[in-house]
């Protein structure tokens, strides 16, 4: 029995440019990752300020970690939405100019139709979620490392972190 290899062309609607879909997904992922650097930059800047105040003996506080990255992952969320739209677009592509969906729906391989419509969007969404999670964890590690460095020698350093992320409570903002 010959093994059937799944080529890239079989992962997108017939006649669609799968390379293009993947390329744009990659570009959007990279752009989302770049956008997320805003969160990291805010962390670095705040920690520098915190350290400067502490060095001068002035009390200061920084935001809790989630506040720094709340908008940093907007790109990934937007990309996931666009990719969900791509899935709809892929399904609709089988109805453009003809009703090729009739053929797709009567293929012996029940997954062929969905594989062609969903693979790139689902892979993209998975990559987007994975990248966002990885960066979230990475930035969090950077946050704590910089915080520990800045608050070195401070008694009970946790009081330097504003609790403003708690519901209904406003913290001290700088």
């Amino acid at each position: 029995m010959t093994k059937k290899w799944i080529t890239l062309e079989k992962l997108a609607p017939v006649g669609a440019d799968v390379q293009k879909q993947l390329r744009w997904t990659g570009i959007a992922l990279a752009a989302s990752a770049l956008w997320s650097l805003r969160g990291l930059l805010r962390i670095v800047r705040s920690m520098k300020i915190l350290k400067a105040y502490i060095d001068q003996g002035v009390f200061s506080s920084v935001d809790a970690y989630p506040r720094y990255v709340s908008s940093a992952f907007f790109g990934f969320a937007l990309l996931s939405l666009v990719l969900a739209g791509l899935a709809v677009w892929n399904y609709a592509s089988f109805r453009r100019g003809a009703r090729a969906d009739y053929l797709m729906r009567r293929l012996p391989d029940r997954w062929e139709y969905h594989r062609r419509c969903l693979t790139v969007p689902l892979l993209g969404i998975a990559a987007s979620v994975l990248a966002a999670l990885t960066l979230y964890v990475l930035y969090r590690a950077v946050y704590w490392r910089l915080f520990r460095e800045a608050a070195a020698g401070v008694e009970d350093p946790m009081r330097l972190i504003s609790l403003s992320v708690q519901a209904g409570q406003r913290g001290i903002w700088r």
Partner: protein
């Protein structure tokens, strides 16, 4: 053997198929006739599982499913090919999905109809697209070939060629269910006529029985459909009478 038992399909308040019972054996060429909206297309889509229905549709005793769906092919006037793909691209796609693909038949039909092989389907004329749609259905290697108004938009010479080619190439086990309005054209092509009206089968006769009775396909259809021969003259009488009456009052 394709068997439909008590097949019903409802769209909103409309019964598109109403308790349809039908049996089609191997080698038959069945003409499916009926007015627009009678349920011909829905019947074919139900057979192919393209629409949900109640009742039972079986092929050789087994429900039509992914396991046996490759034994059906479908040519529709809506076209089920890929517009941005060339004929060779279609050939590859079908070969990958239908092990029974008839490459020799495909090549022969493409040559016969002189269809451009390097052009994408969206560059074909409507007539050529219809031809290609039917070529795909015939080349898939299916036992049951369903055709829904496949020649809509083709000229008469084109259609005649097709009937001749079809009769020439069909093998004894291949079954065709052909939905069309072109009664006179397919009279010598079909072996059986099934009439559908408002979703129900209202007539089912073999052409040999009709021949024995000396009844034409058109006469059979009109009779089974309850066609009133004097309908037009009555309407005209009424219309002209109204006009004369109006003139008379002036």
């Amino acid at each position: 053997m394709l068997e439909l038992k008590n097949v019903t399909k409802v769209y909103g308040w409309t019964k598109a198929l109403d308790k349809v019972d039908l049996t089609v054996g191997p080698g038959e060429i069945v003409g499916l006739f009926g007015e627009n909206g009678a349920g011909k297309t829905t019947l074919m889509k139900a057979i192919l599982n393209l629409v949900a229905y109640t009742g039972q549709i079986t092929l050789d005793g087994e429900r039509v499913s992914r396991k046996n769906i490759e034994r059906f092919s479908f040519a529709t006037c809506e076209h089920s090919f890929f517009p941005t793909l060339t004929p060779d691209g279609h050939r590859e796609f079908y070969k990958n999905h239908f092990p029974t693909w008839r490459d020799k038949r495909f090549t022969a039909l493409m040559d016969f109809f002189k269809l451009p092989k390097l052009r994408c389907l969206n560059g074909y004329s409507t007539g050529q697209q219809n031809q290609f749609e039917v070529i795909l259905a015939l080349s898939q290697g299916a036992d049951y070939i369903l055709m829904d108004e496949p020649f809509a938009g083709n000229d008469v010479f084109n259609r005649e060629d097709f009937y001749k080619v079809l009769l020439g190439i069909l093998e004894p086990g291949e079954t065709v269910i052909l939905s069309t309005h072109l009664l006179e054209e397919v009279e010598n092509f079909v072996s059986r006529a099934v009439l559908i009206k408002k979703g129900a089968i209202v007539g089912d006769e073999s052409m040999s029985d009709l021949e024995d009775r000396g009844e034409s396909l058109m006469a059979f259809v009109k009779r089974a459909y309850g066609y009133e021969p004097d309908r037009v003259s009555r309407a005209l009488d009424k219309l002209t009478g109204e006009e004369n009456g109006e003139e008379g009052t002036k």
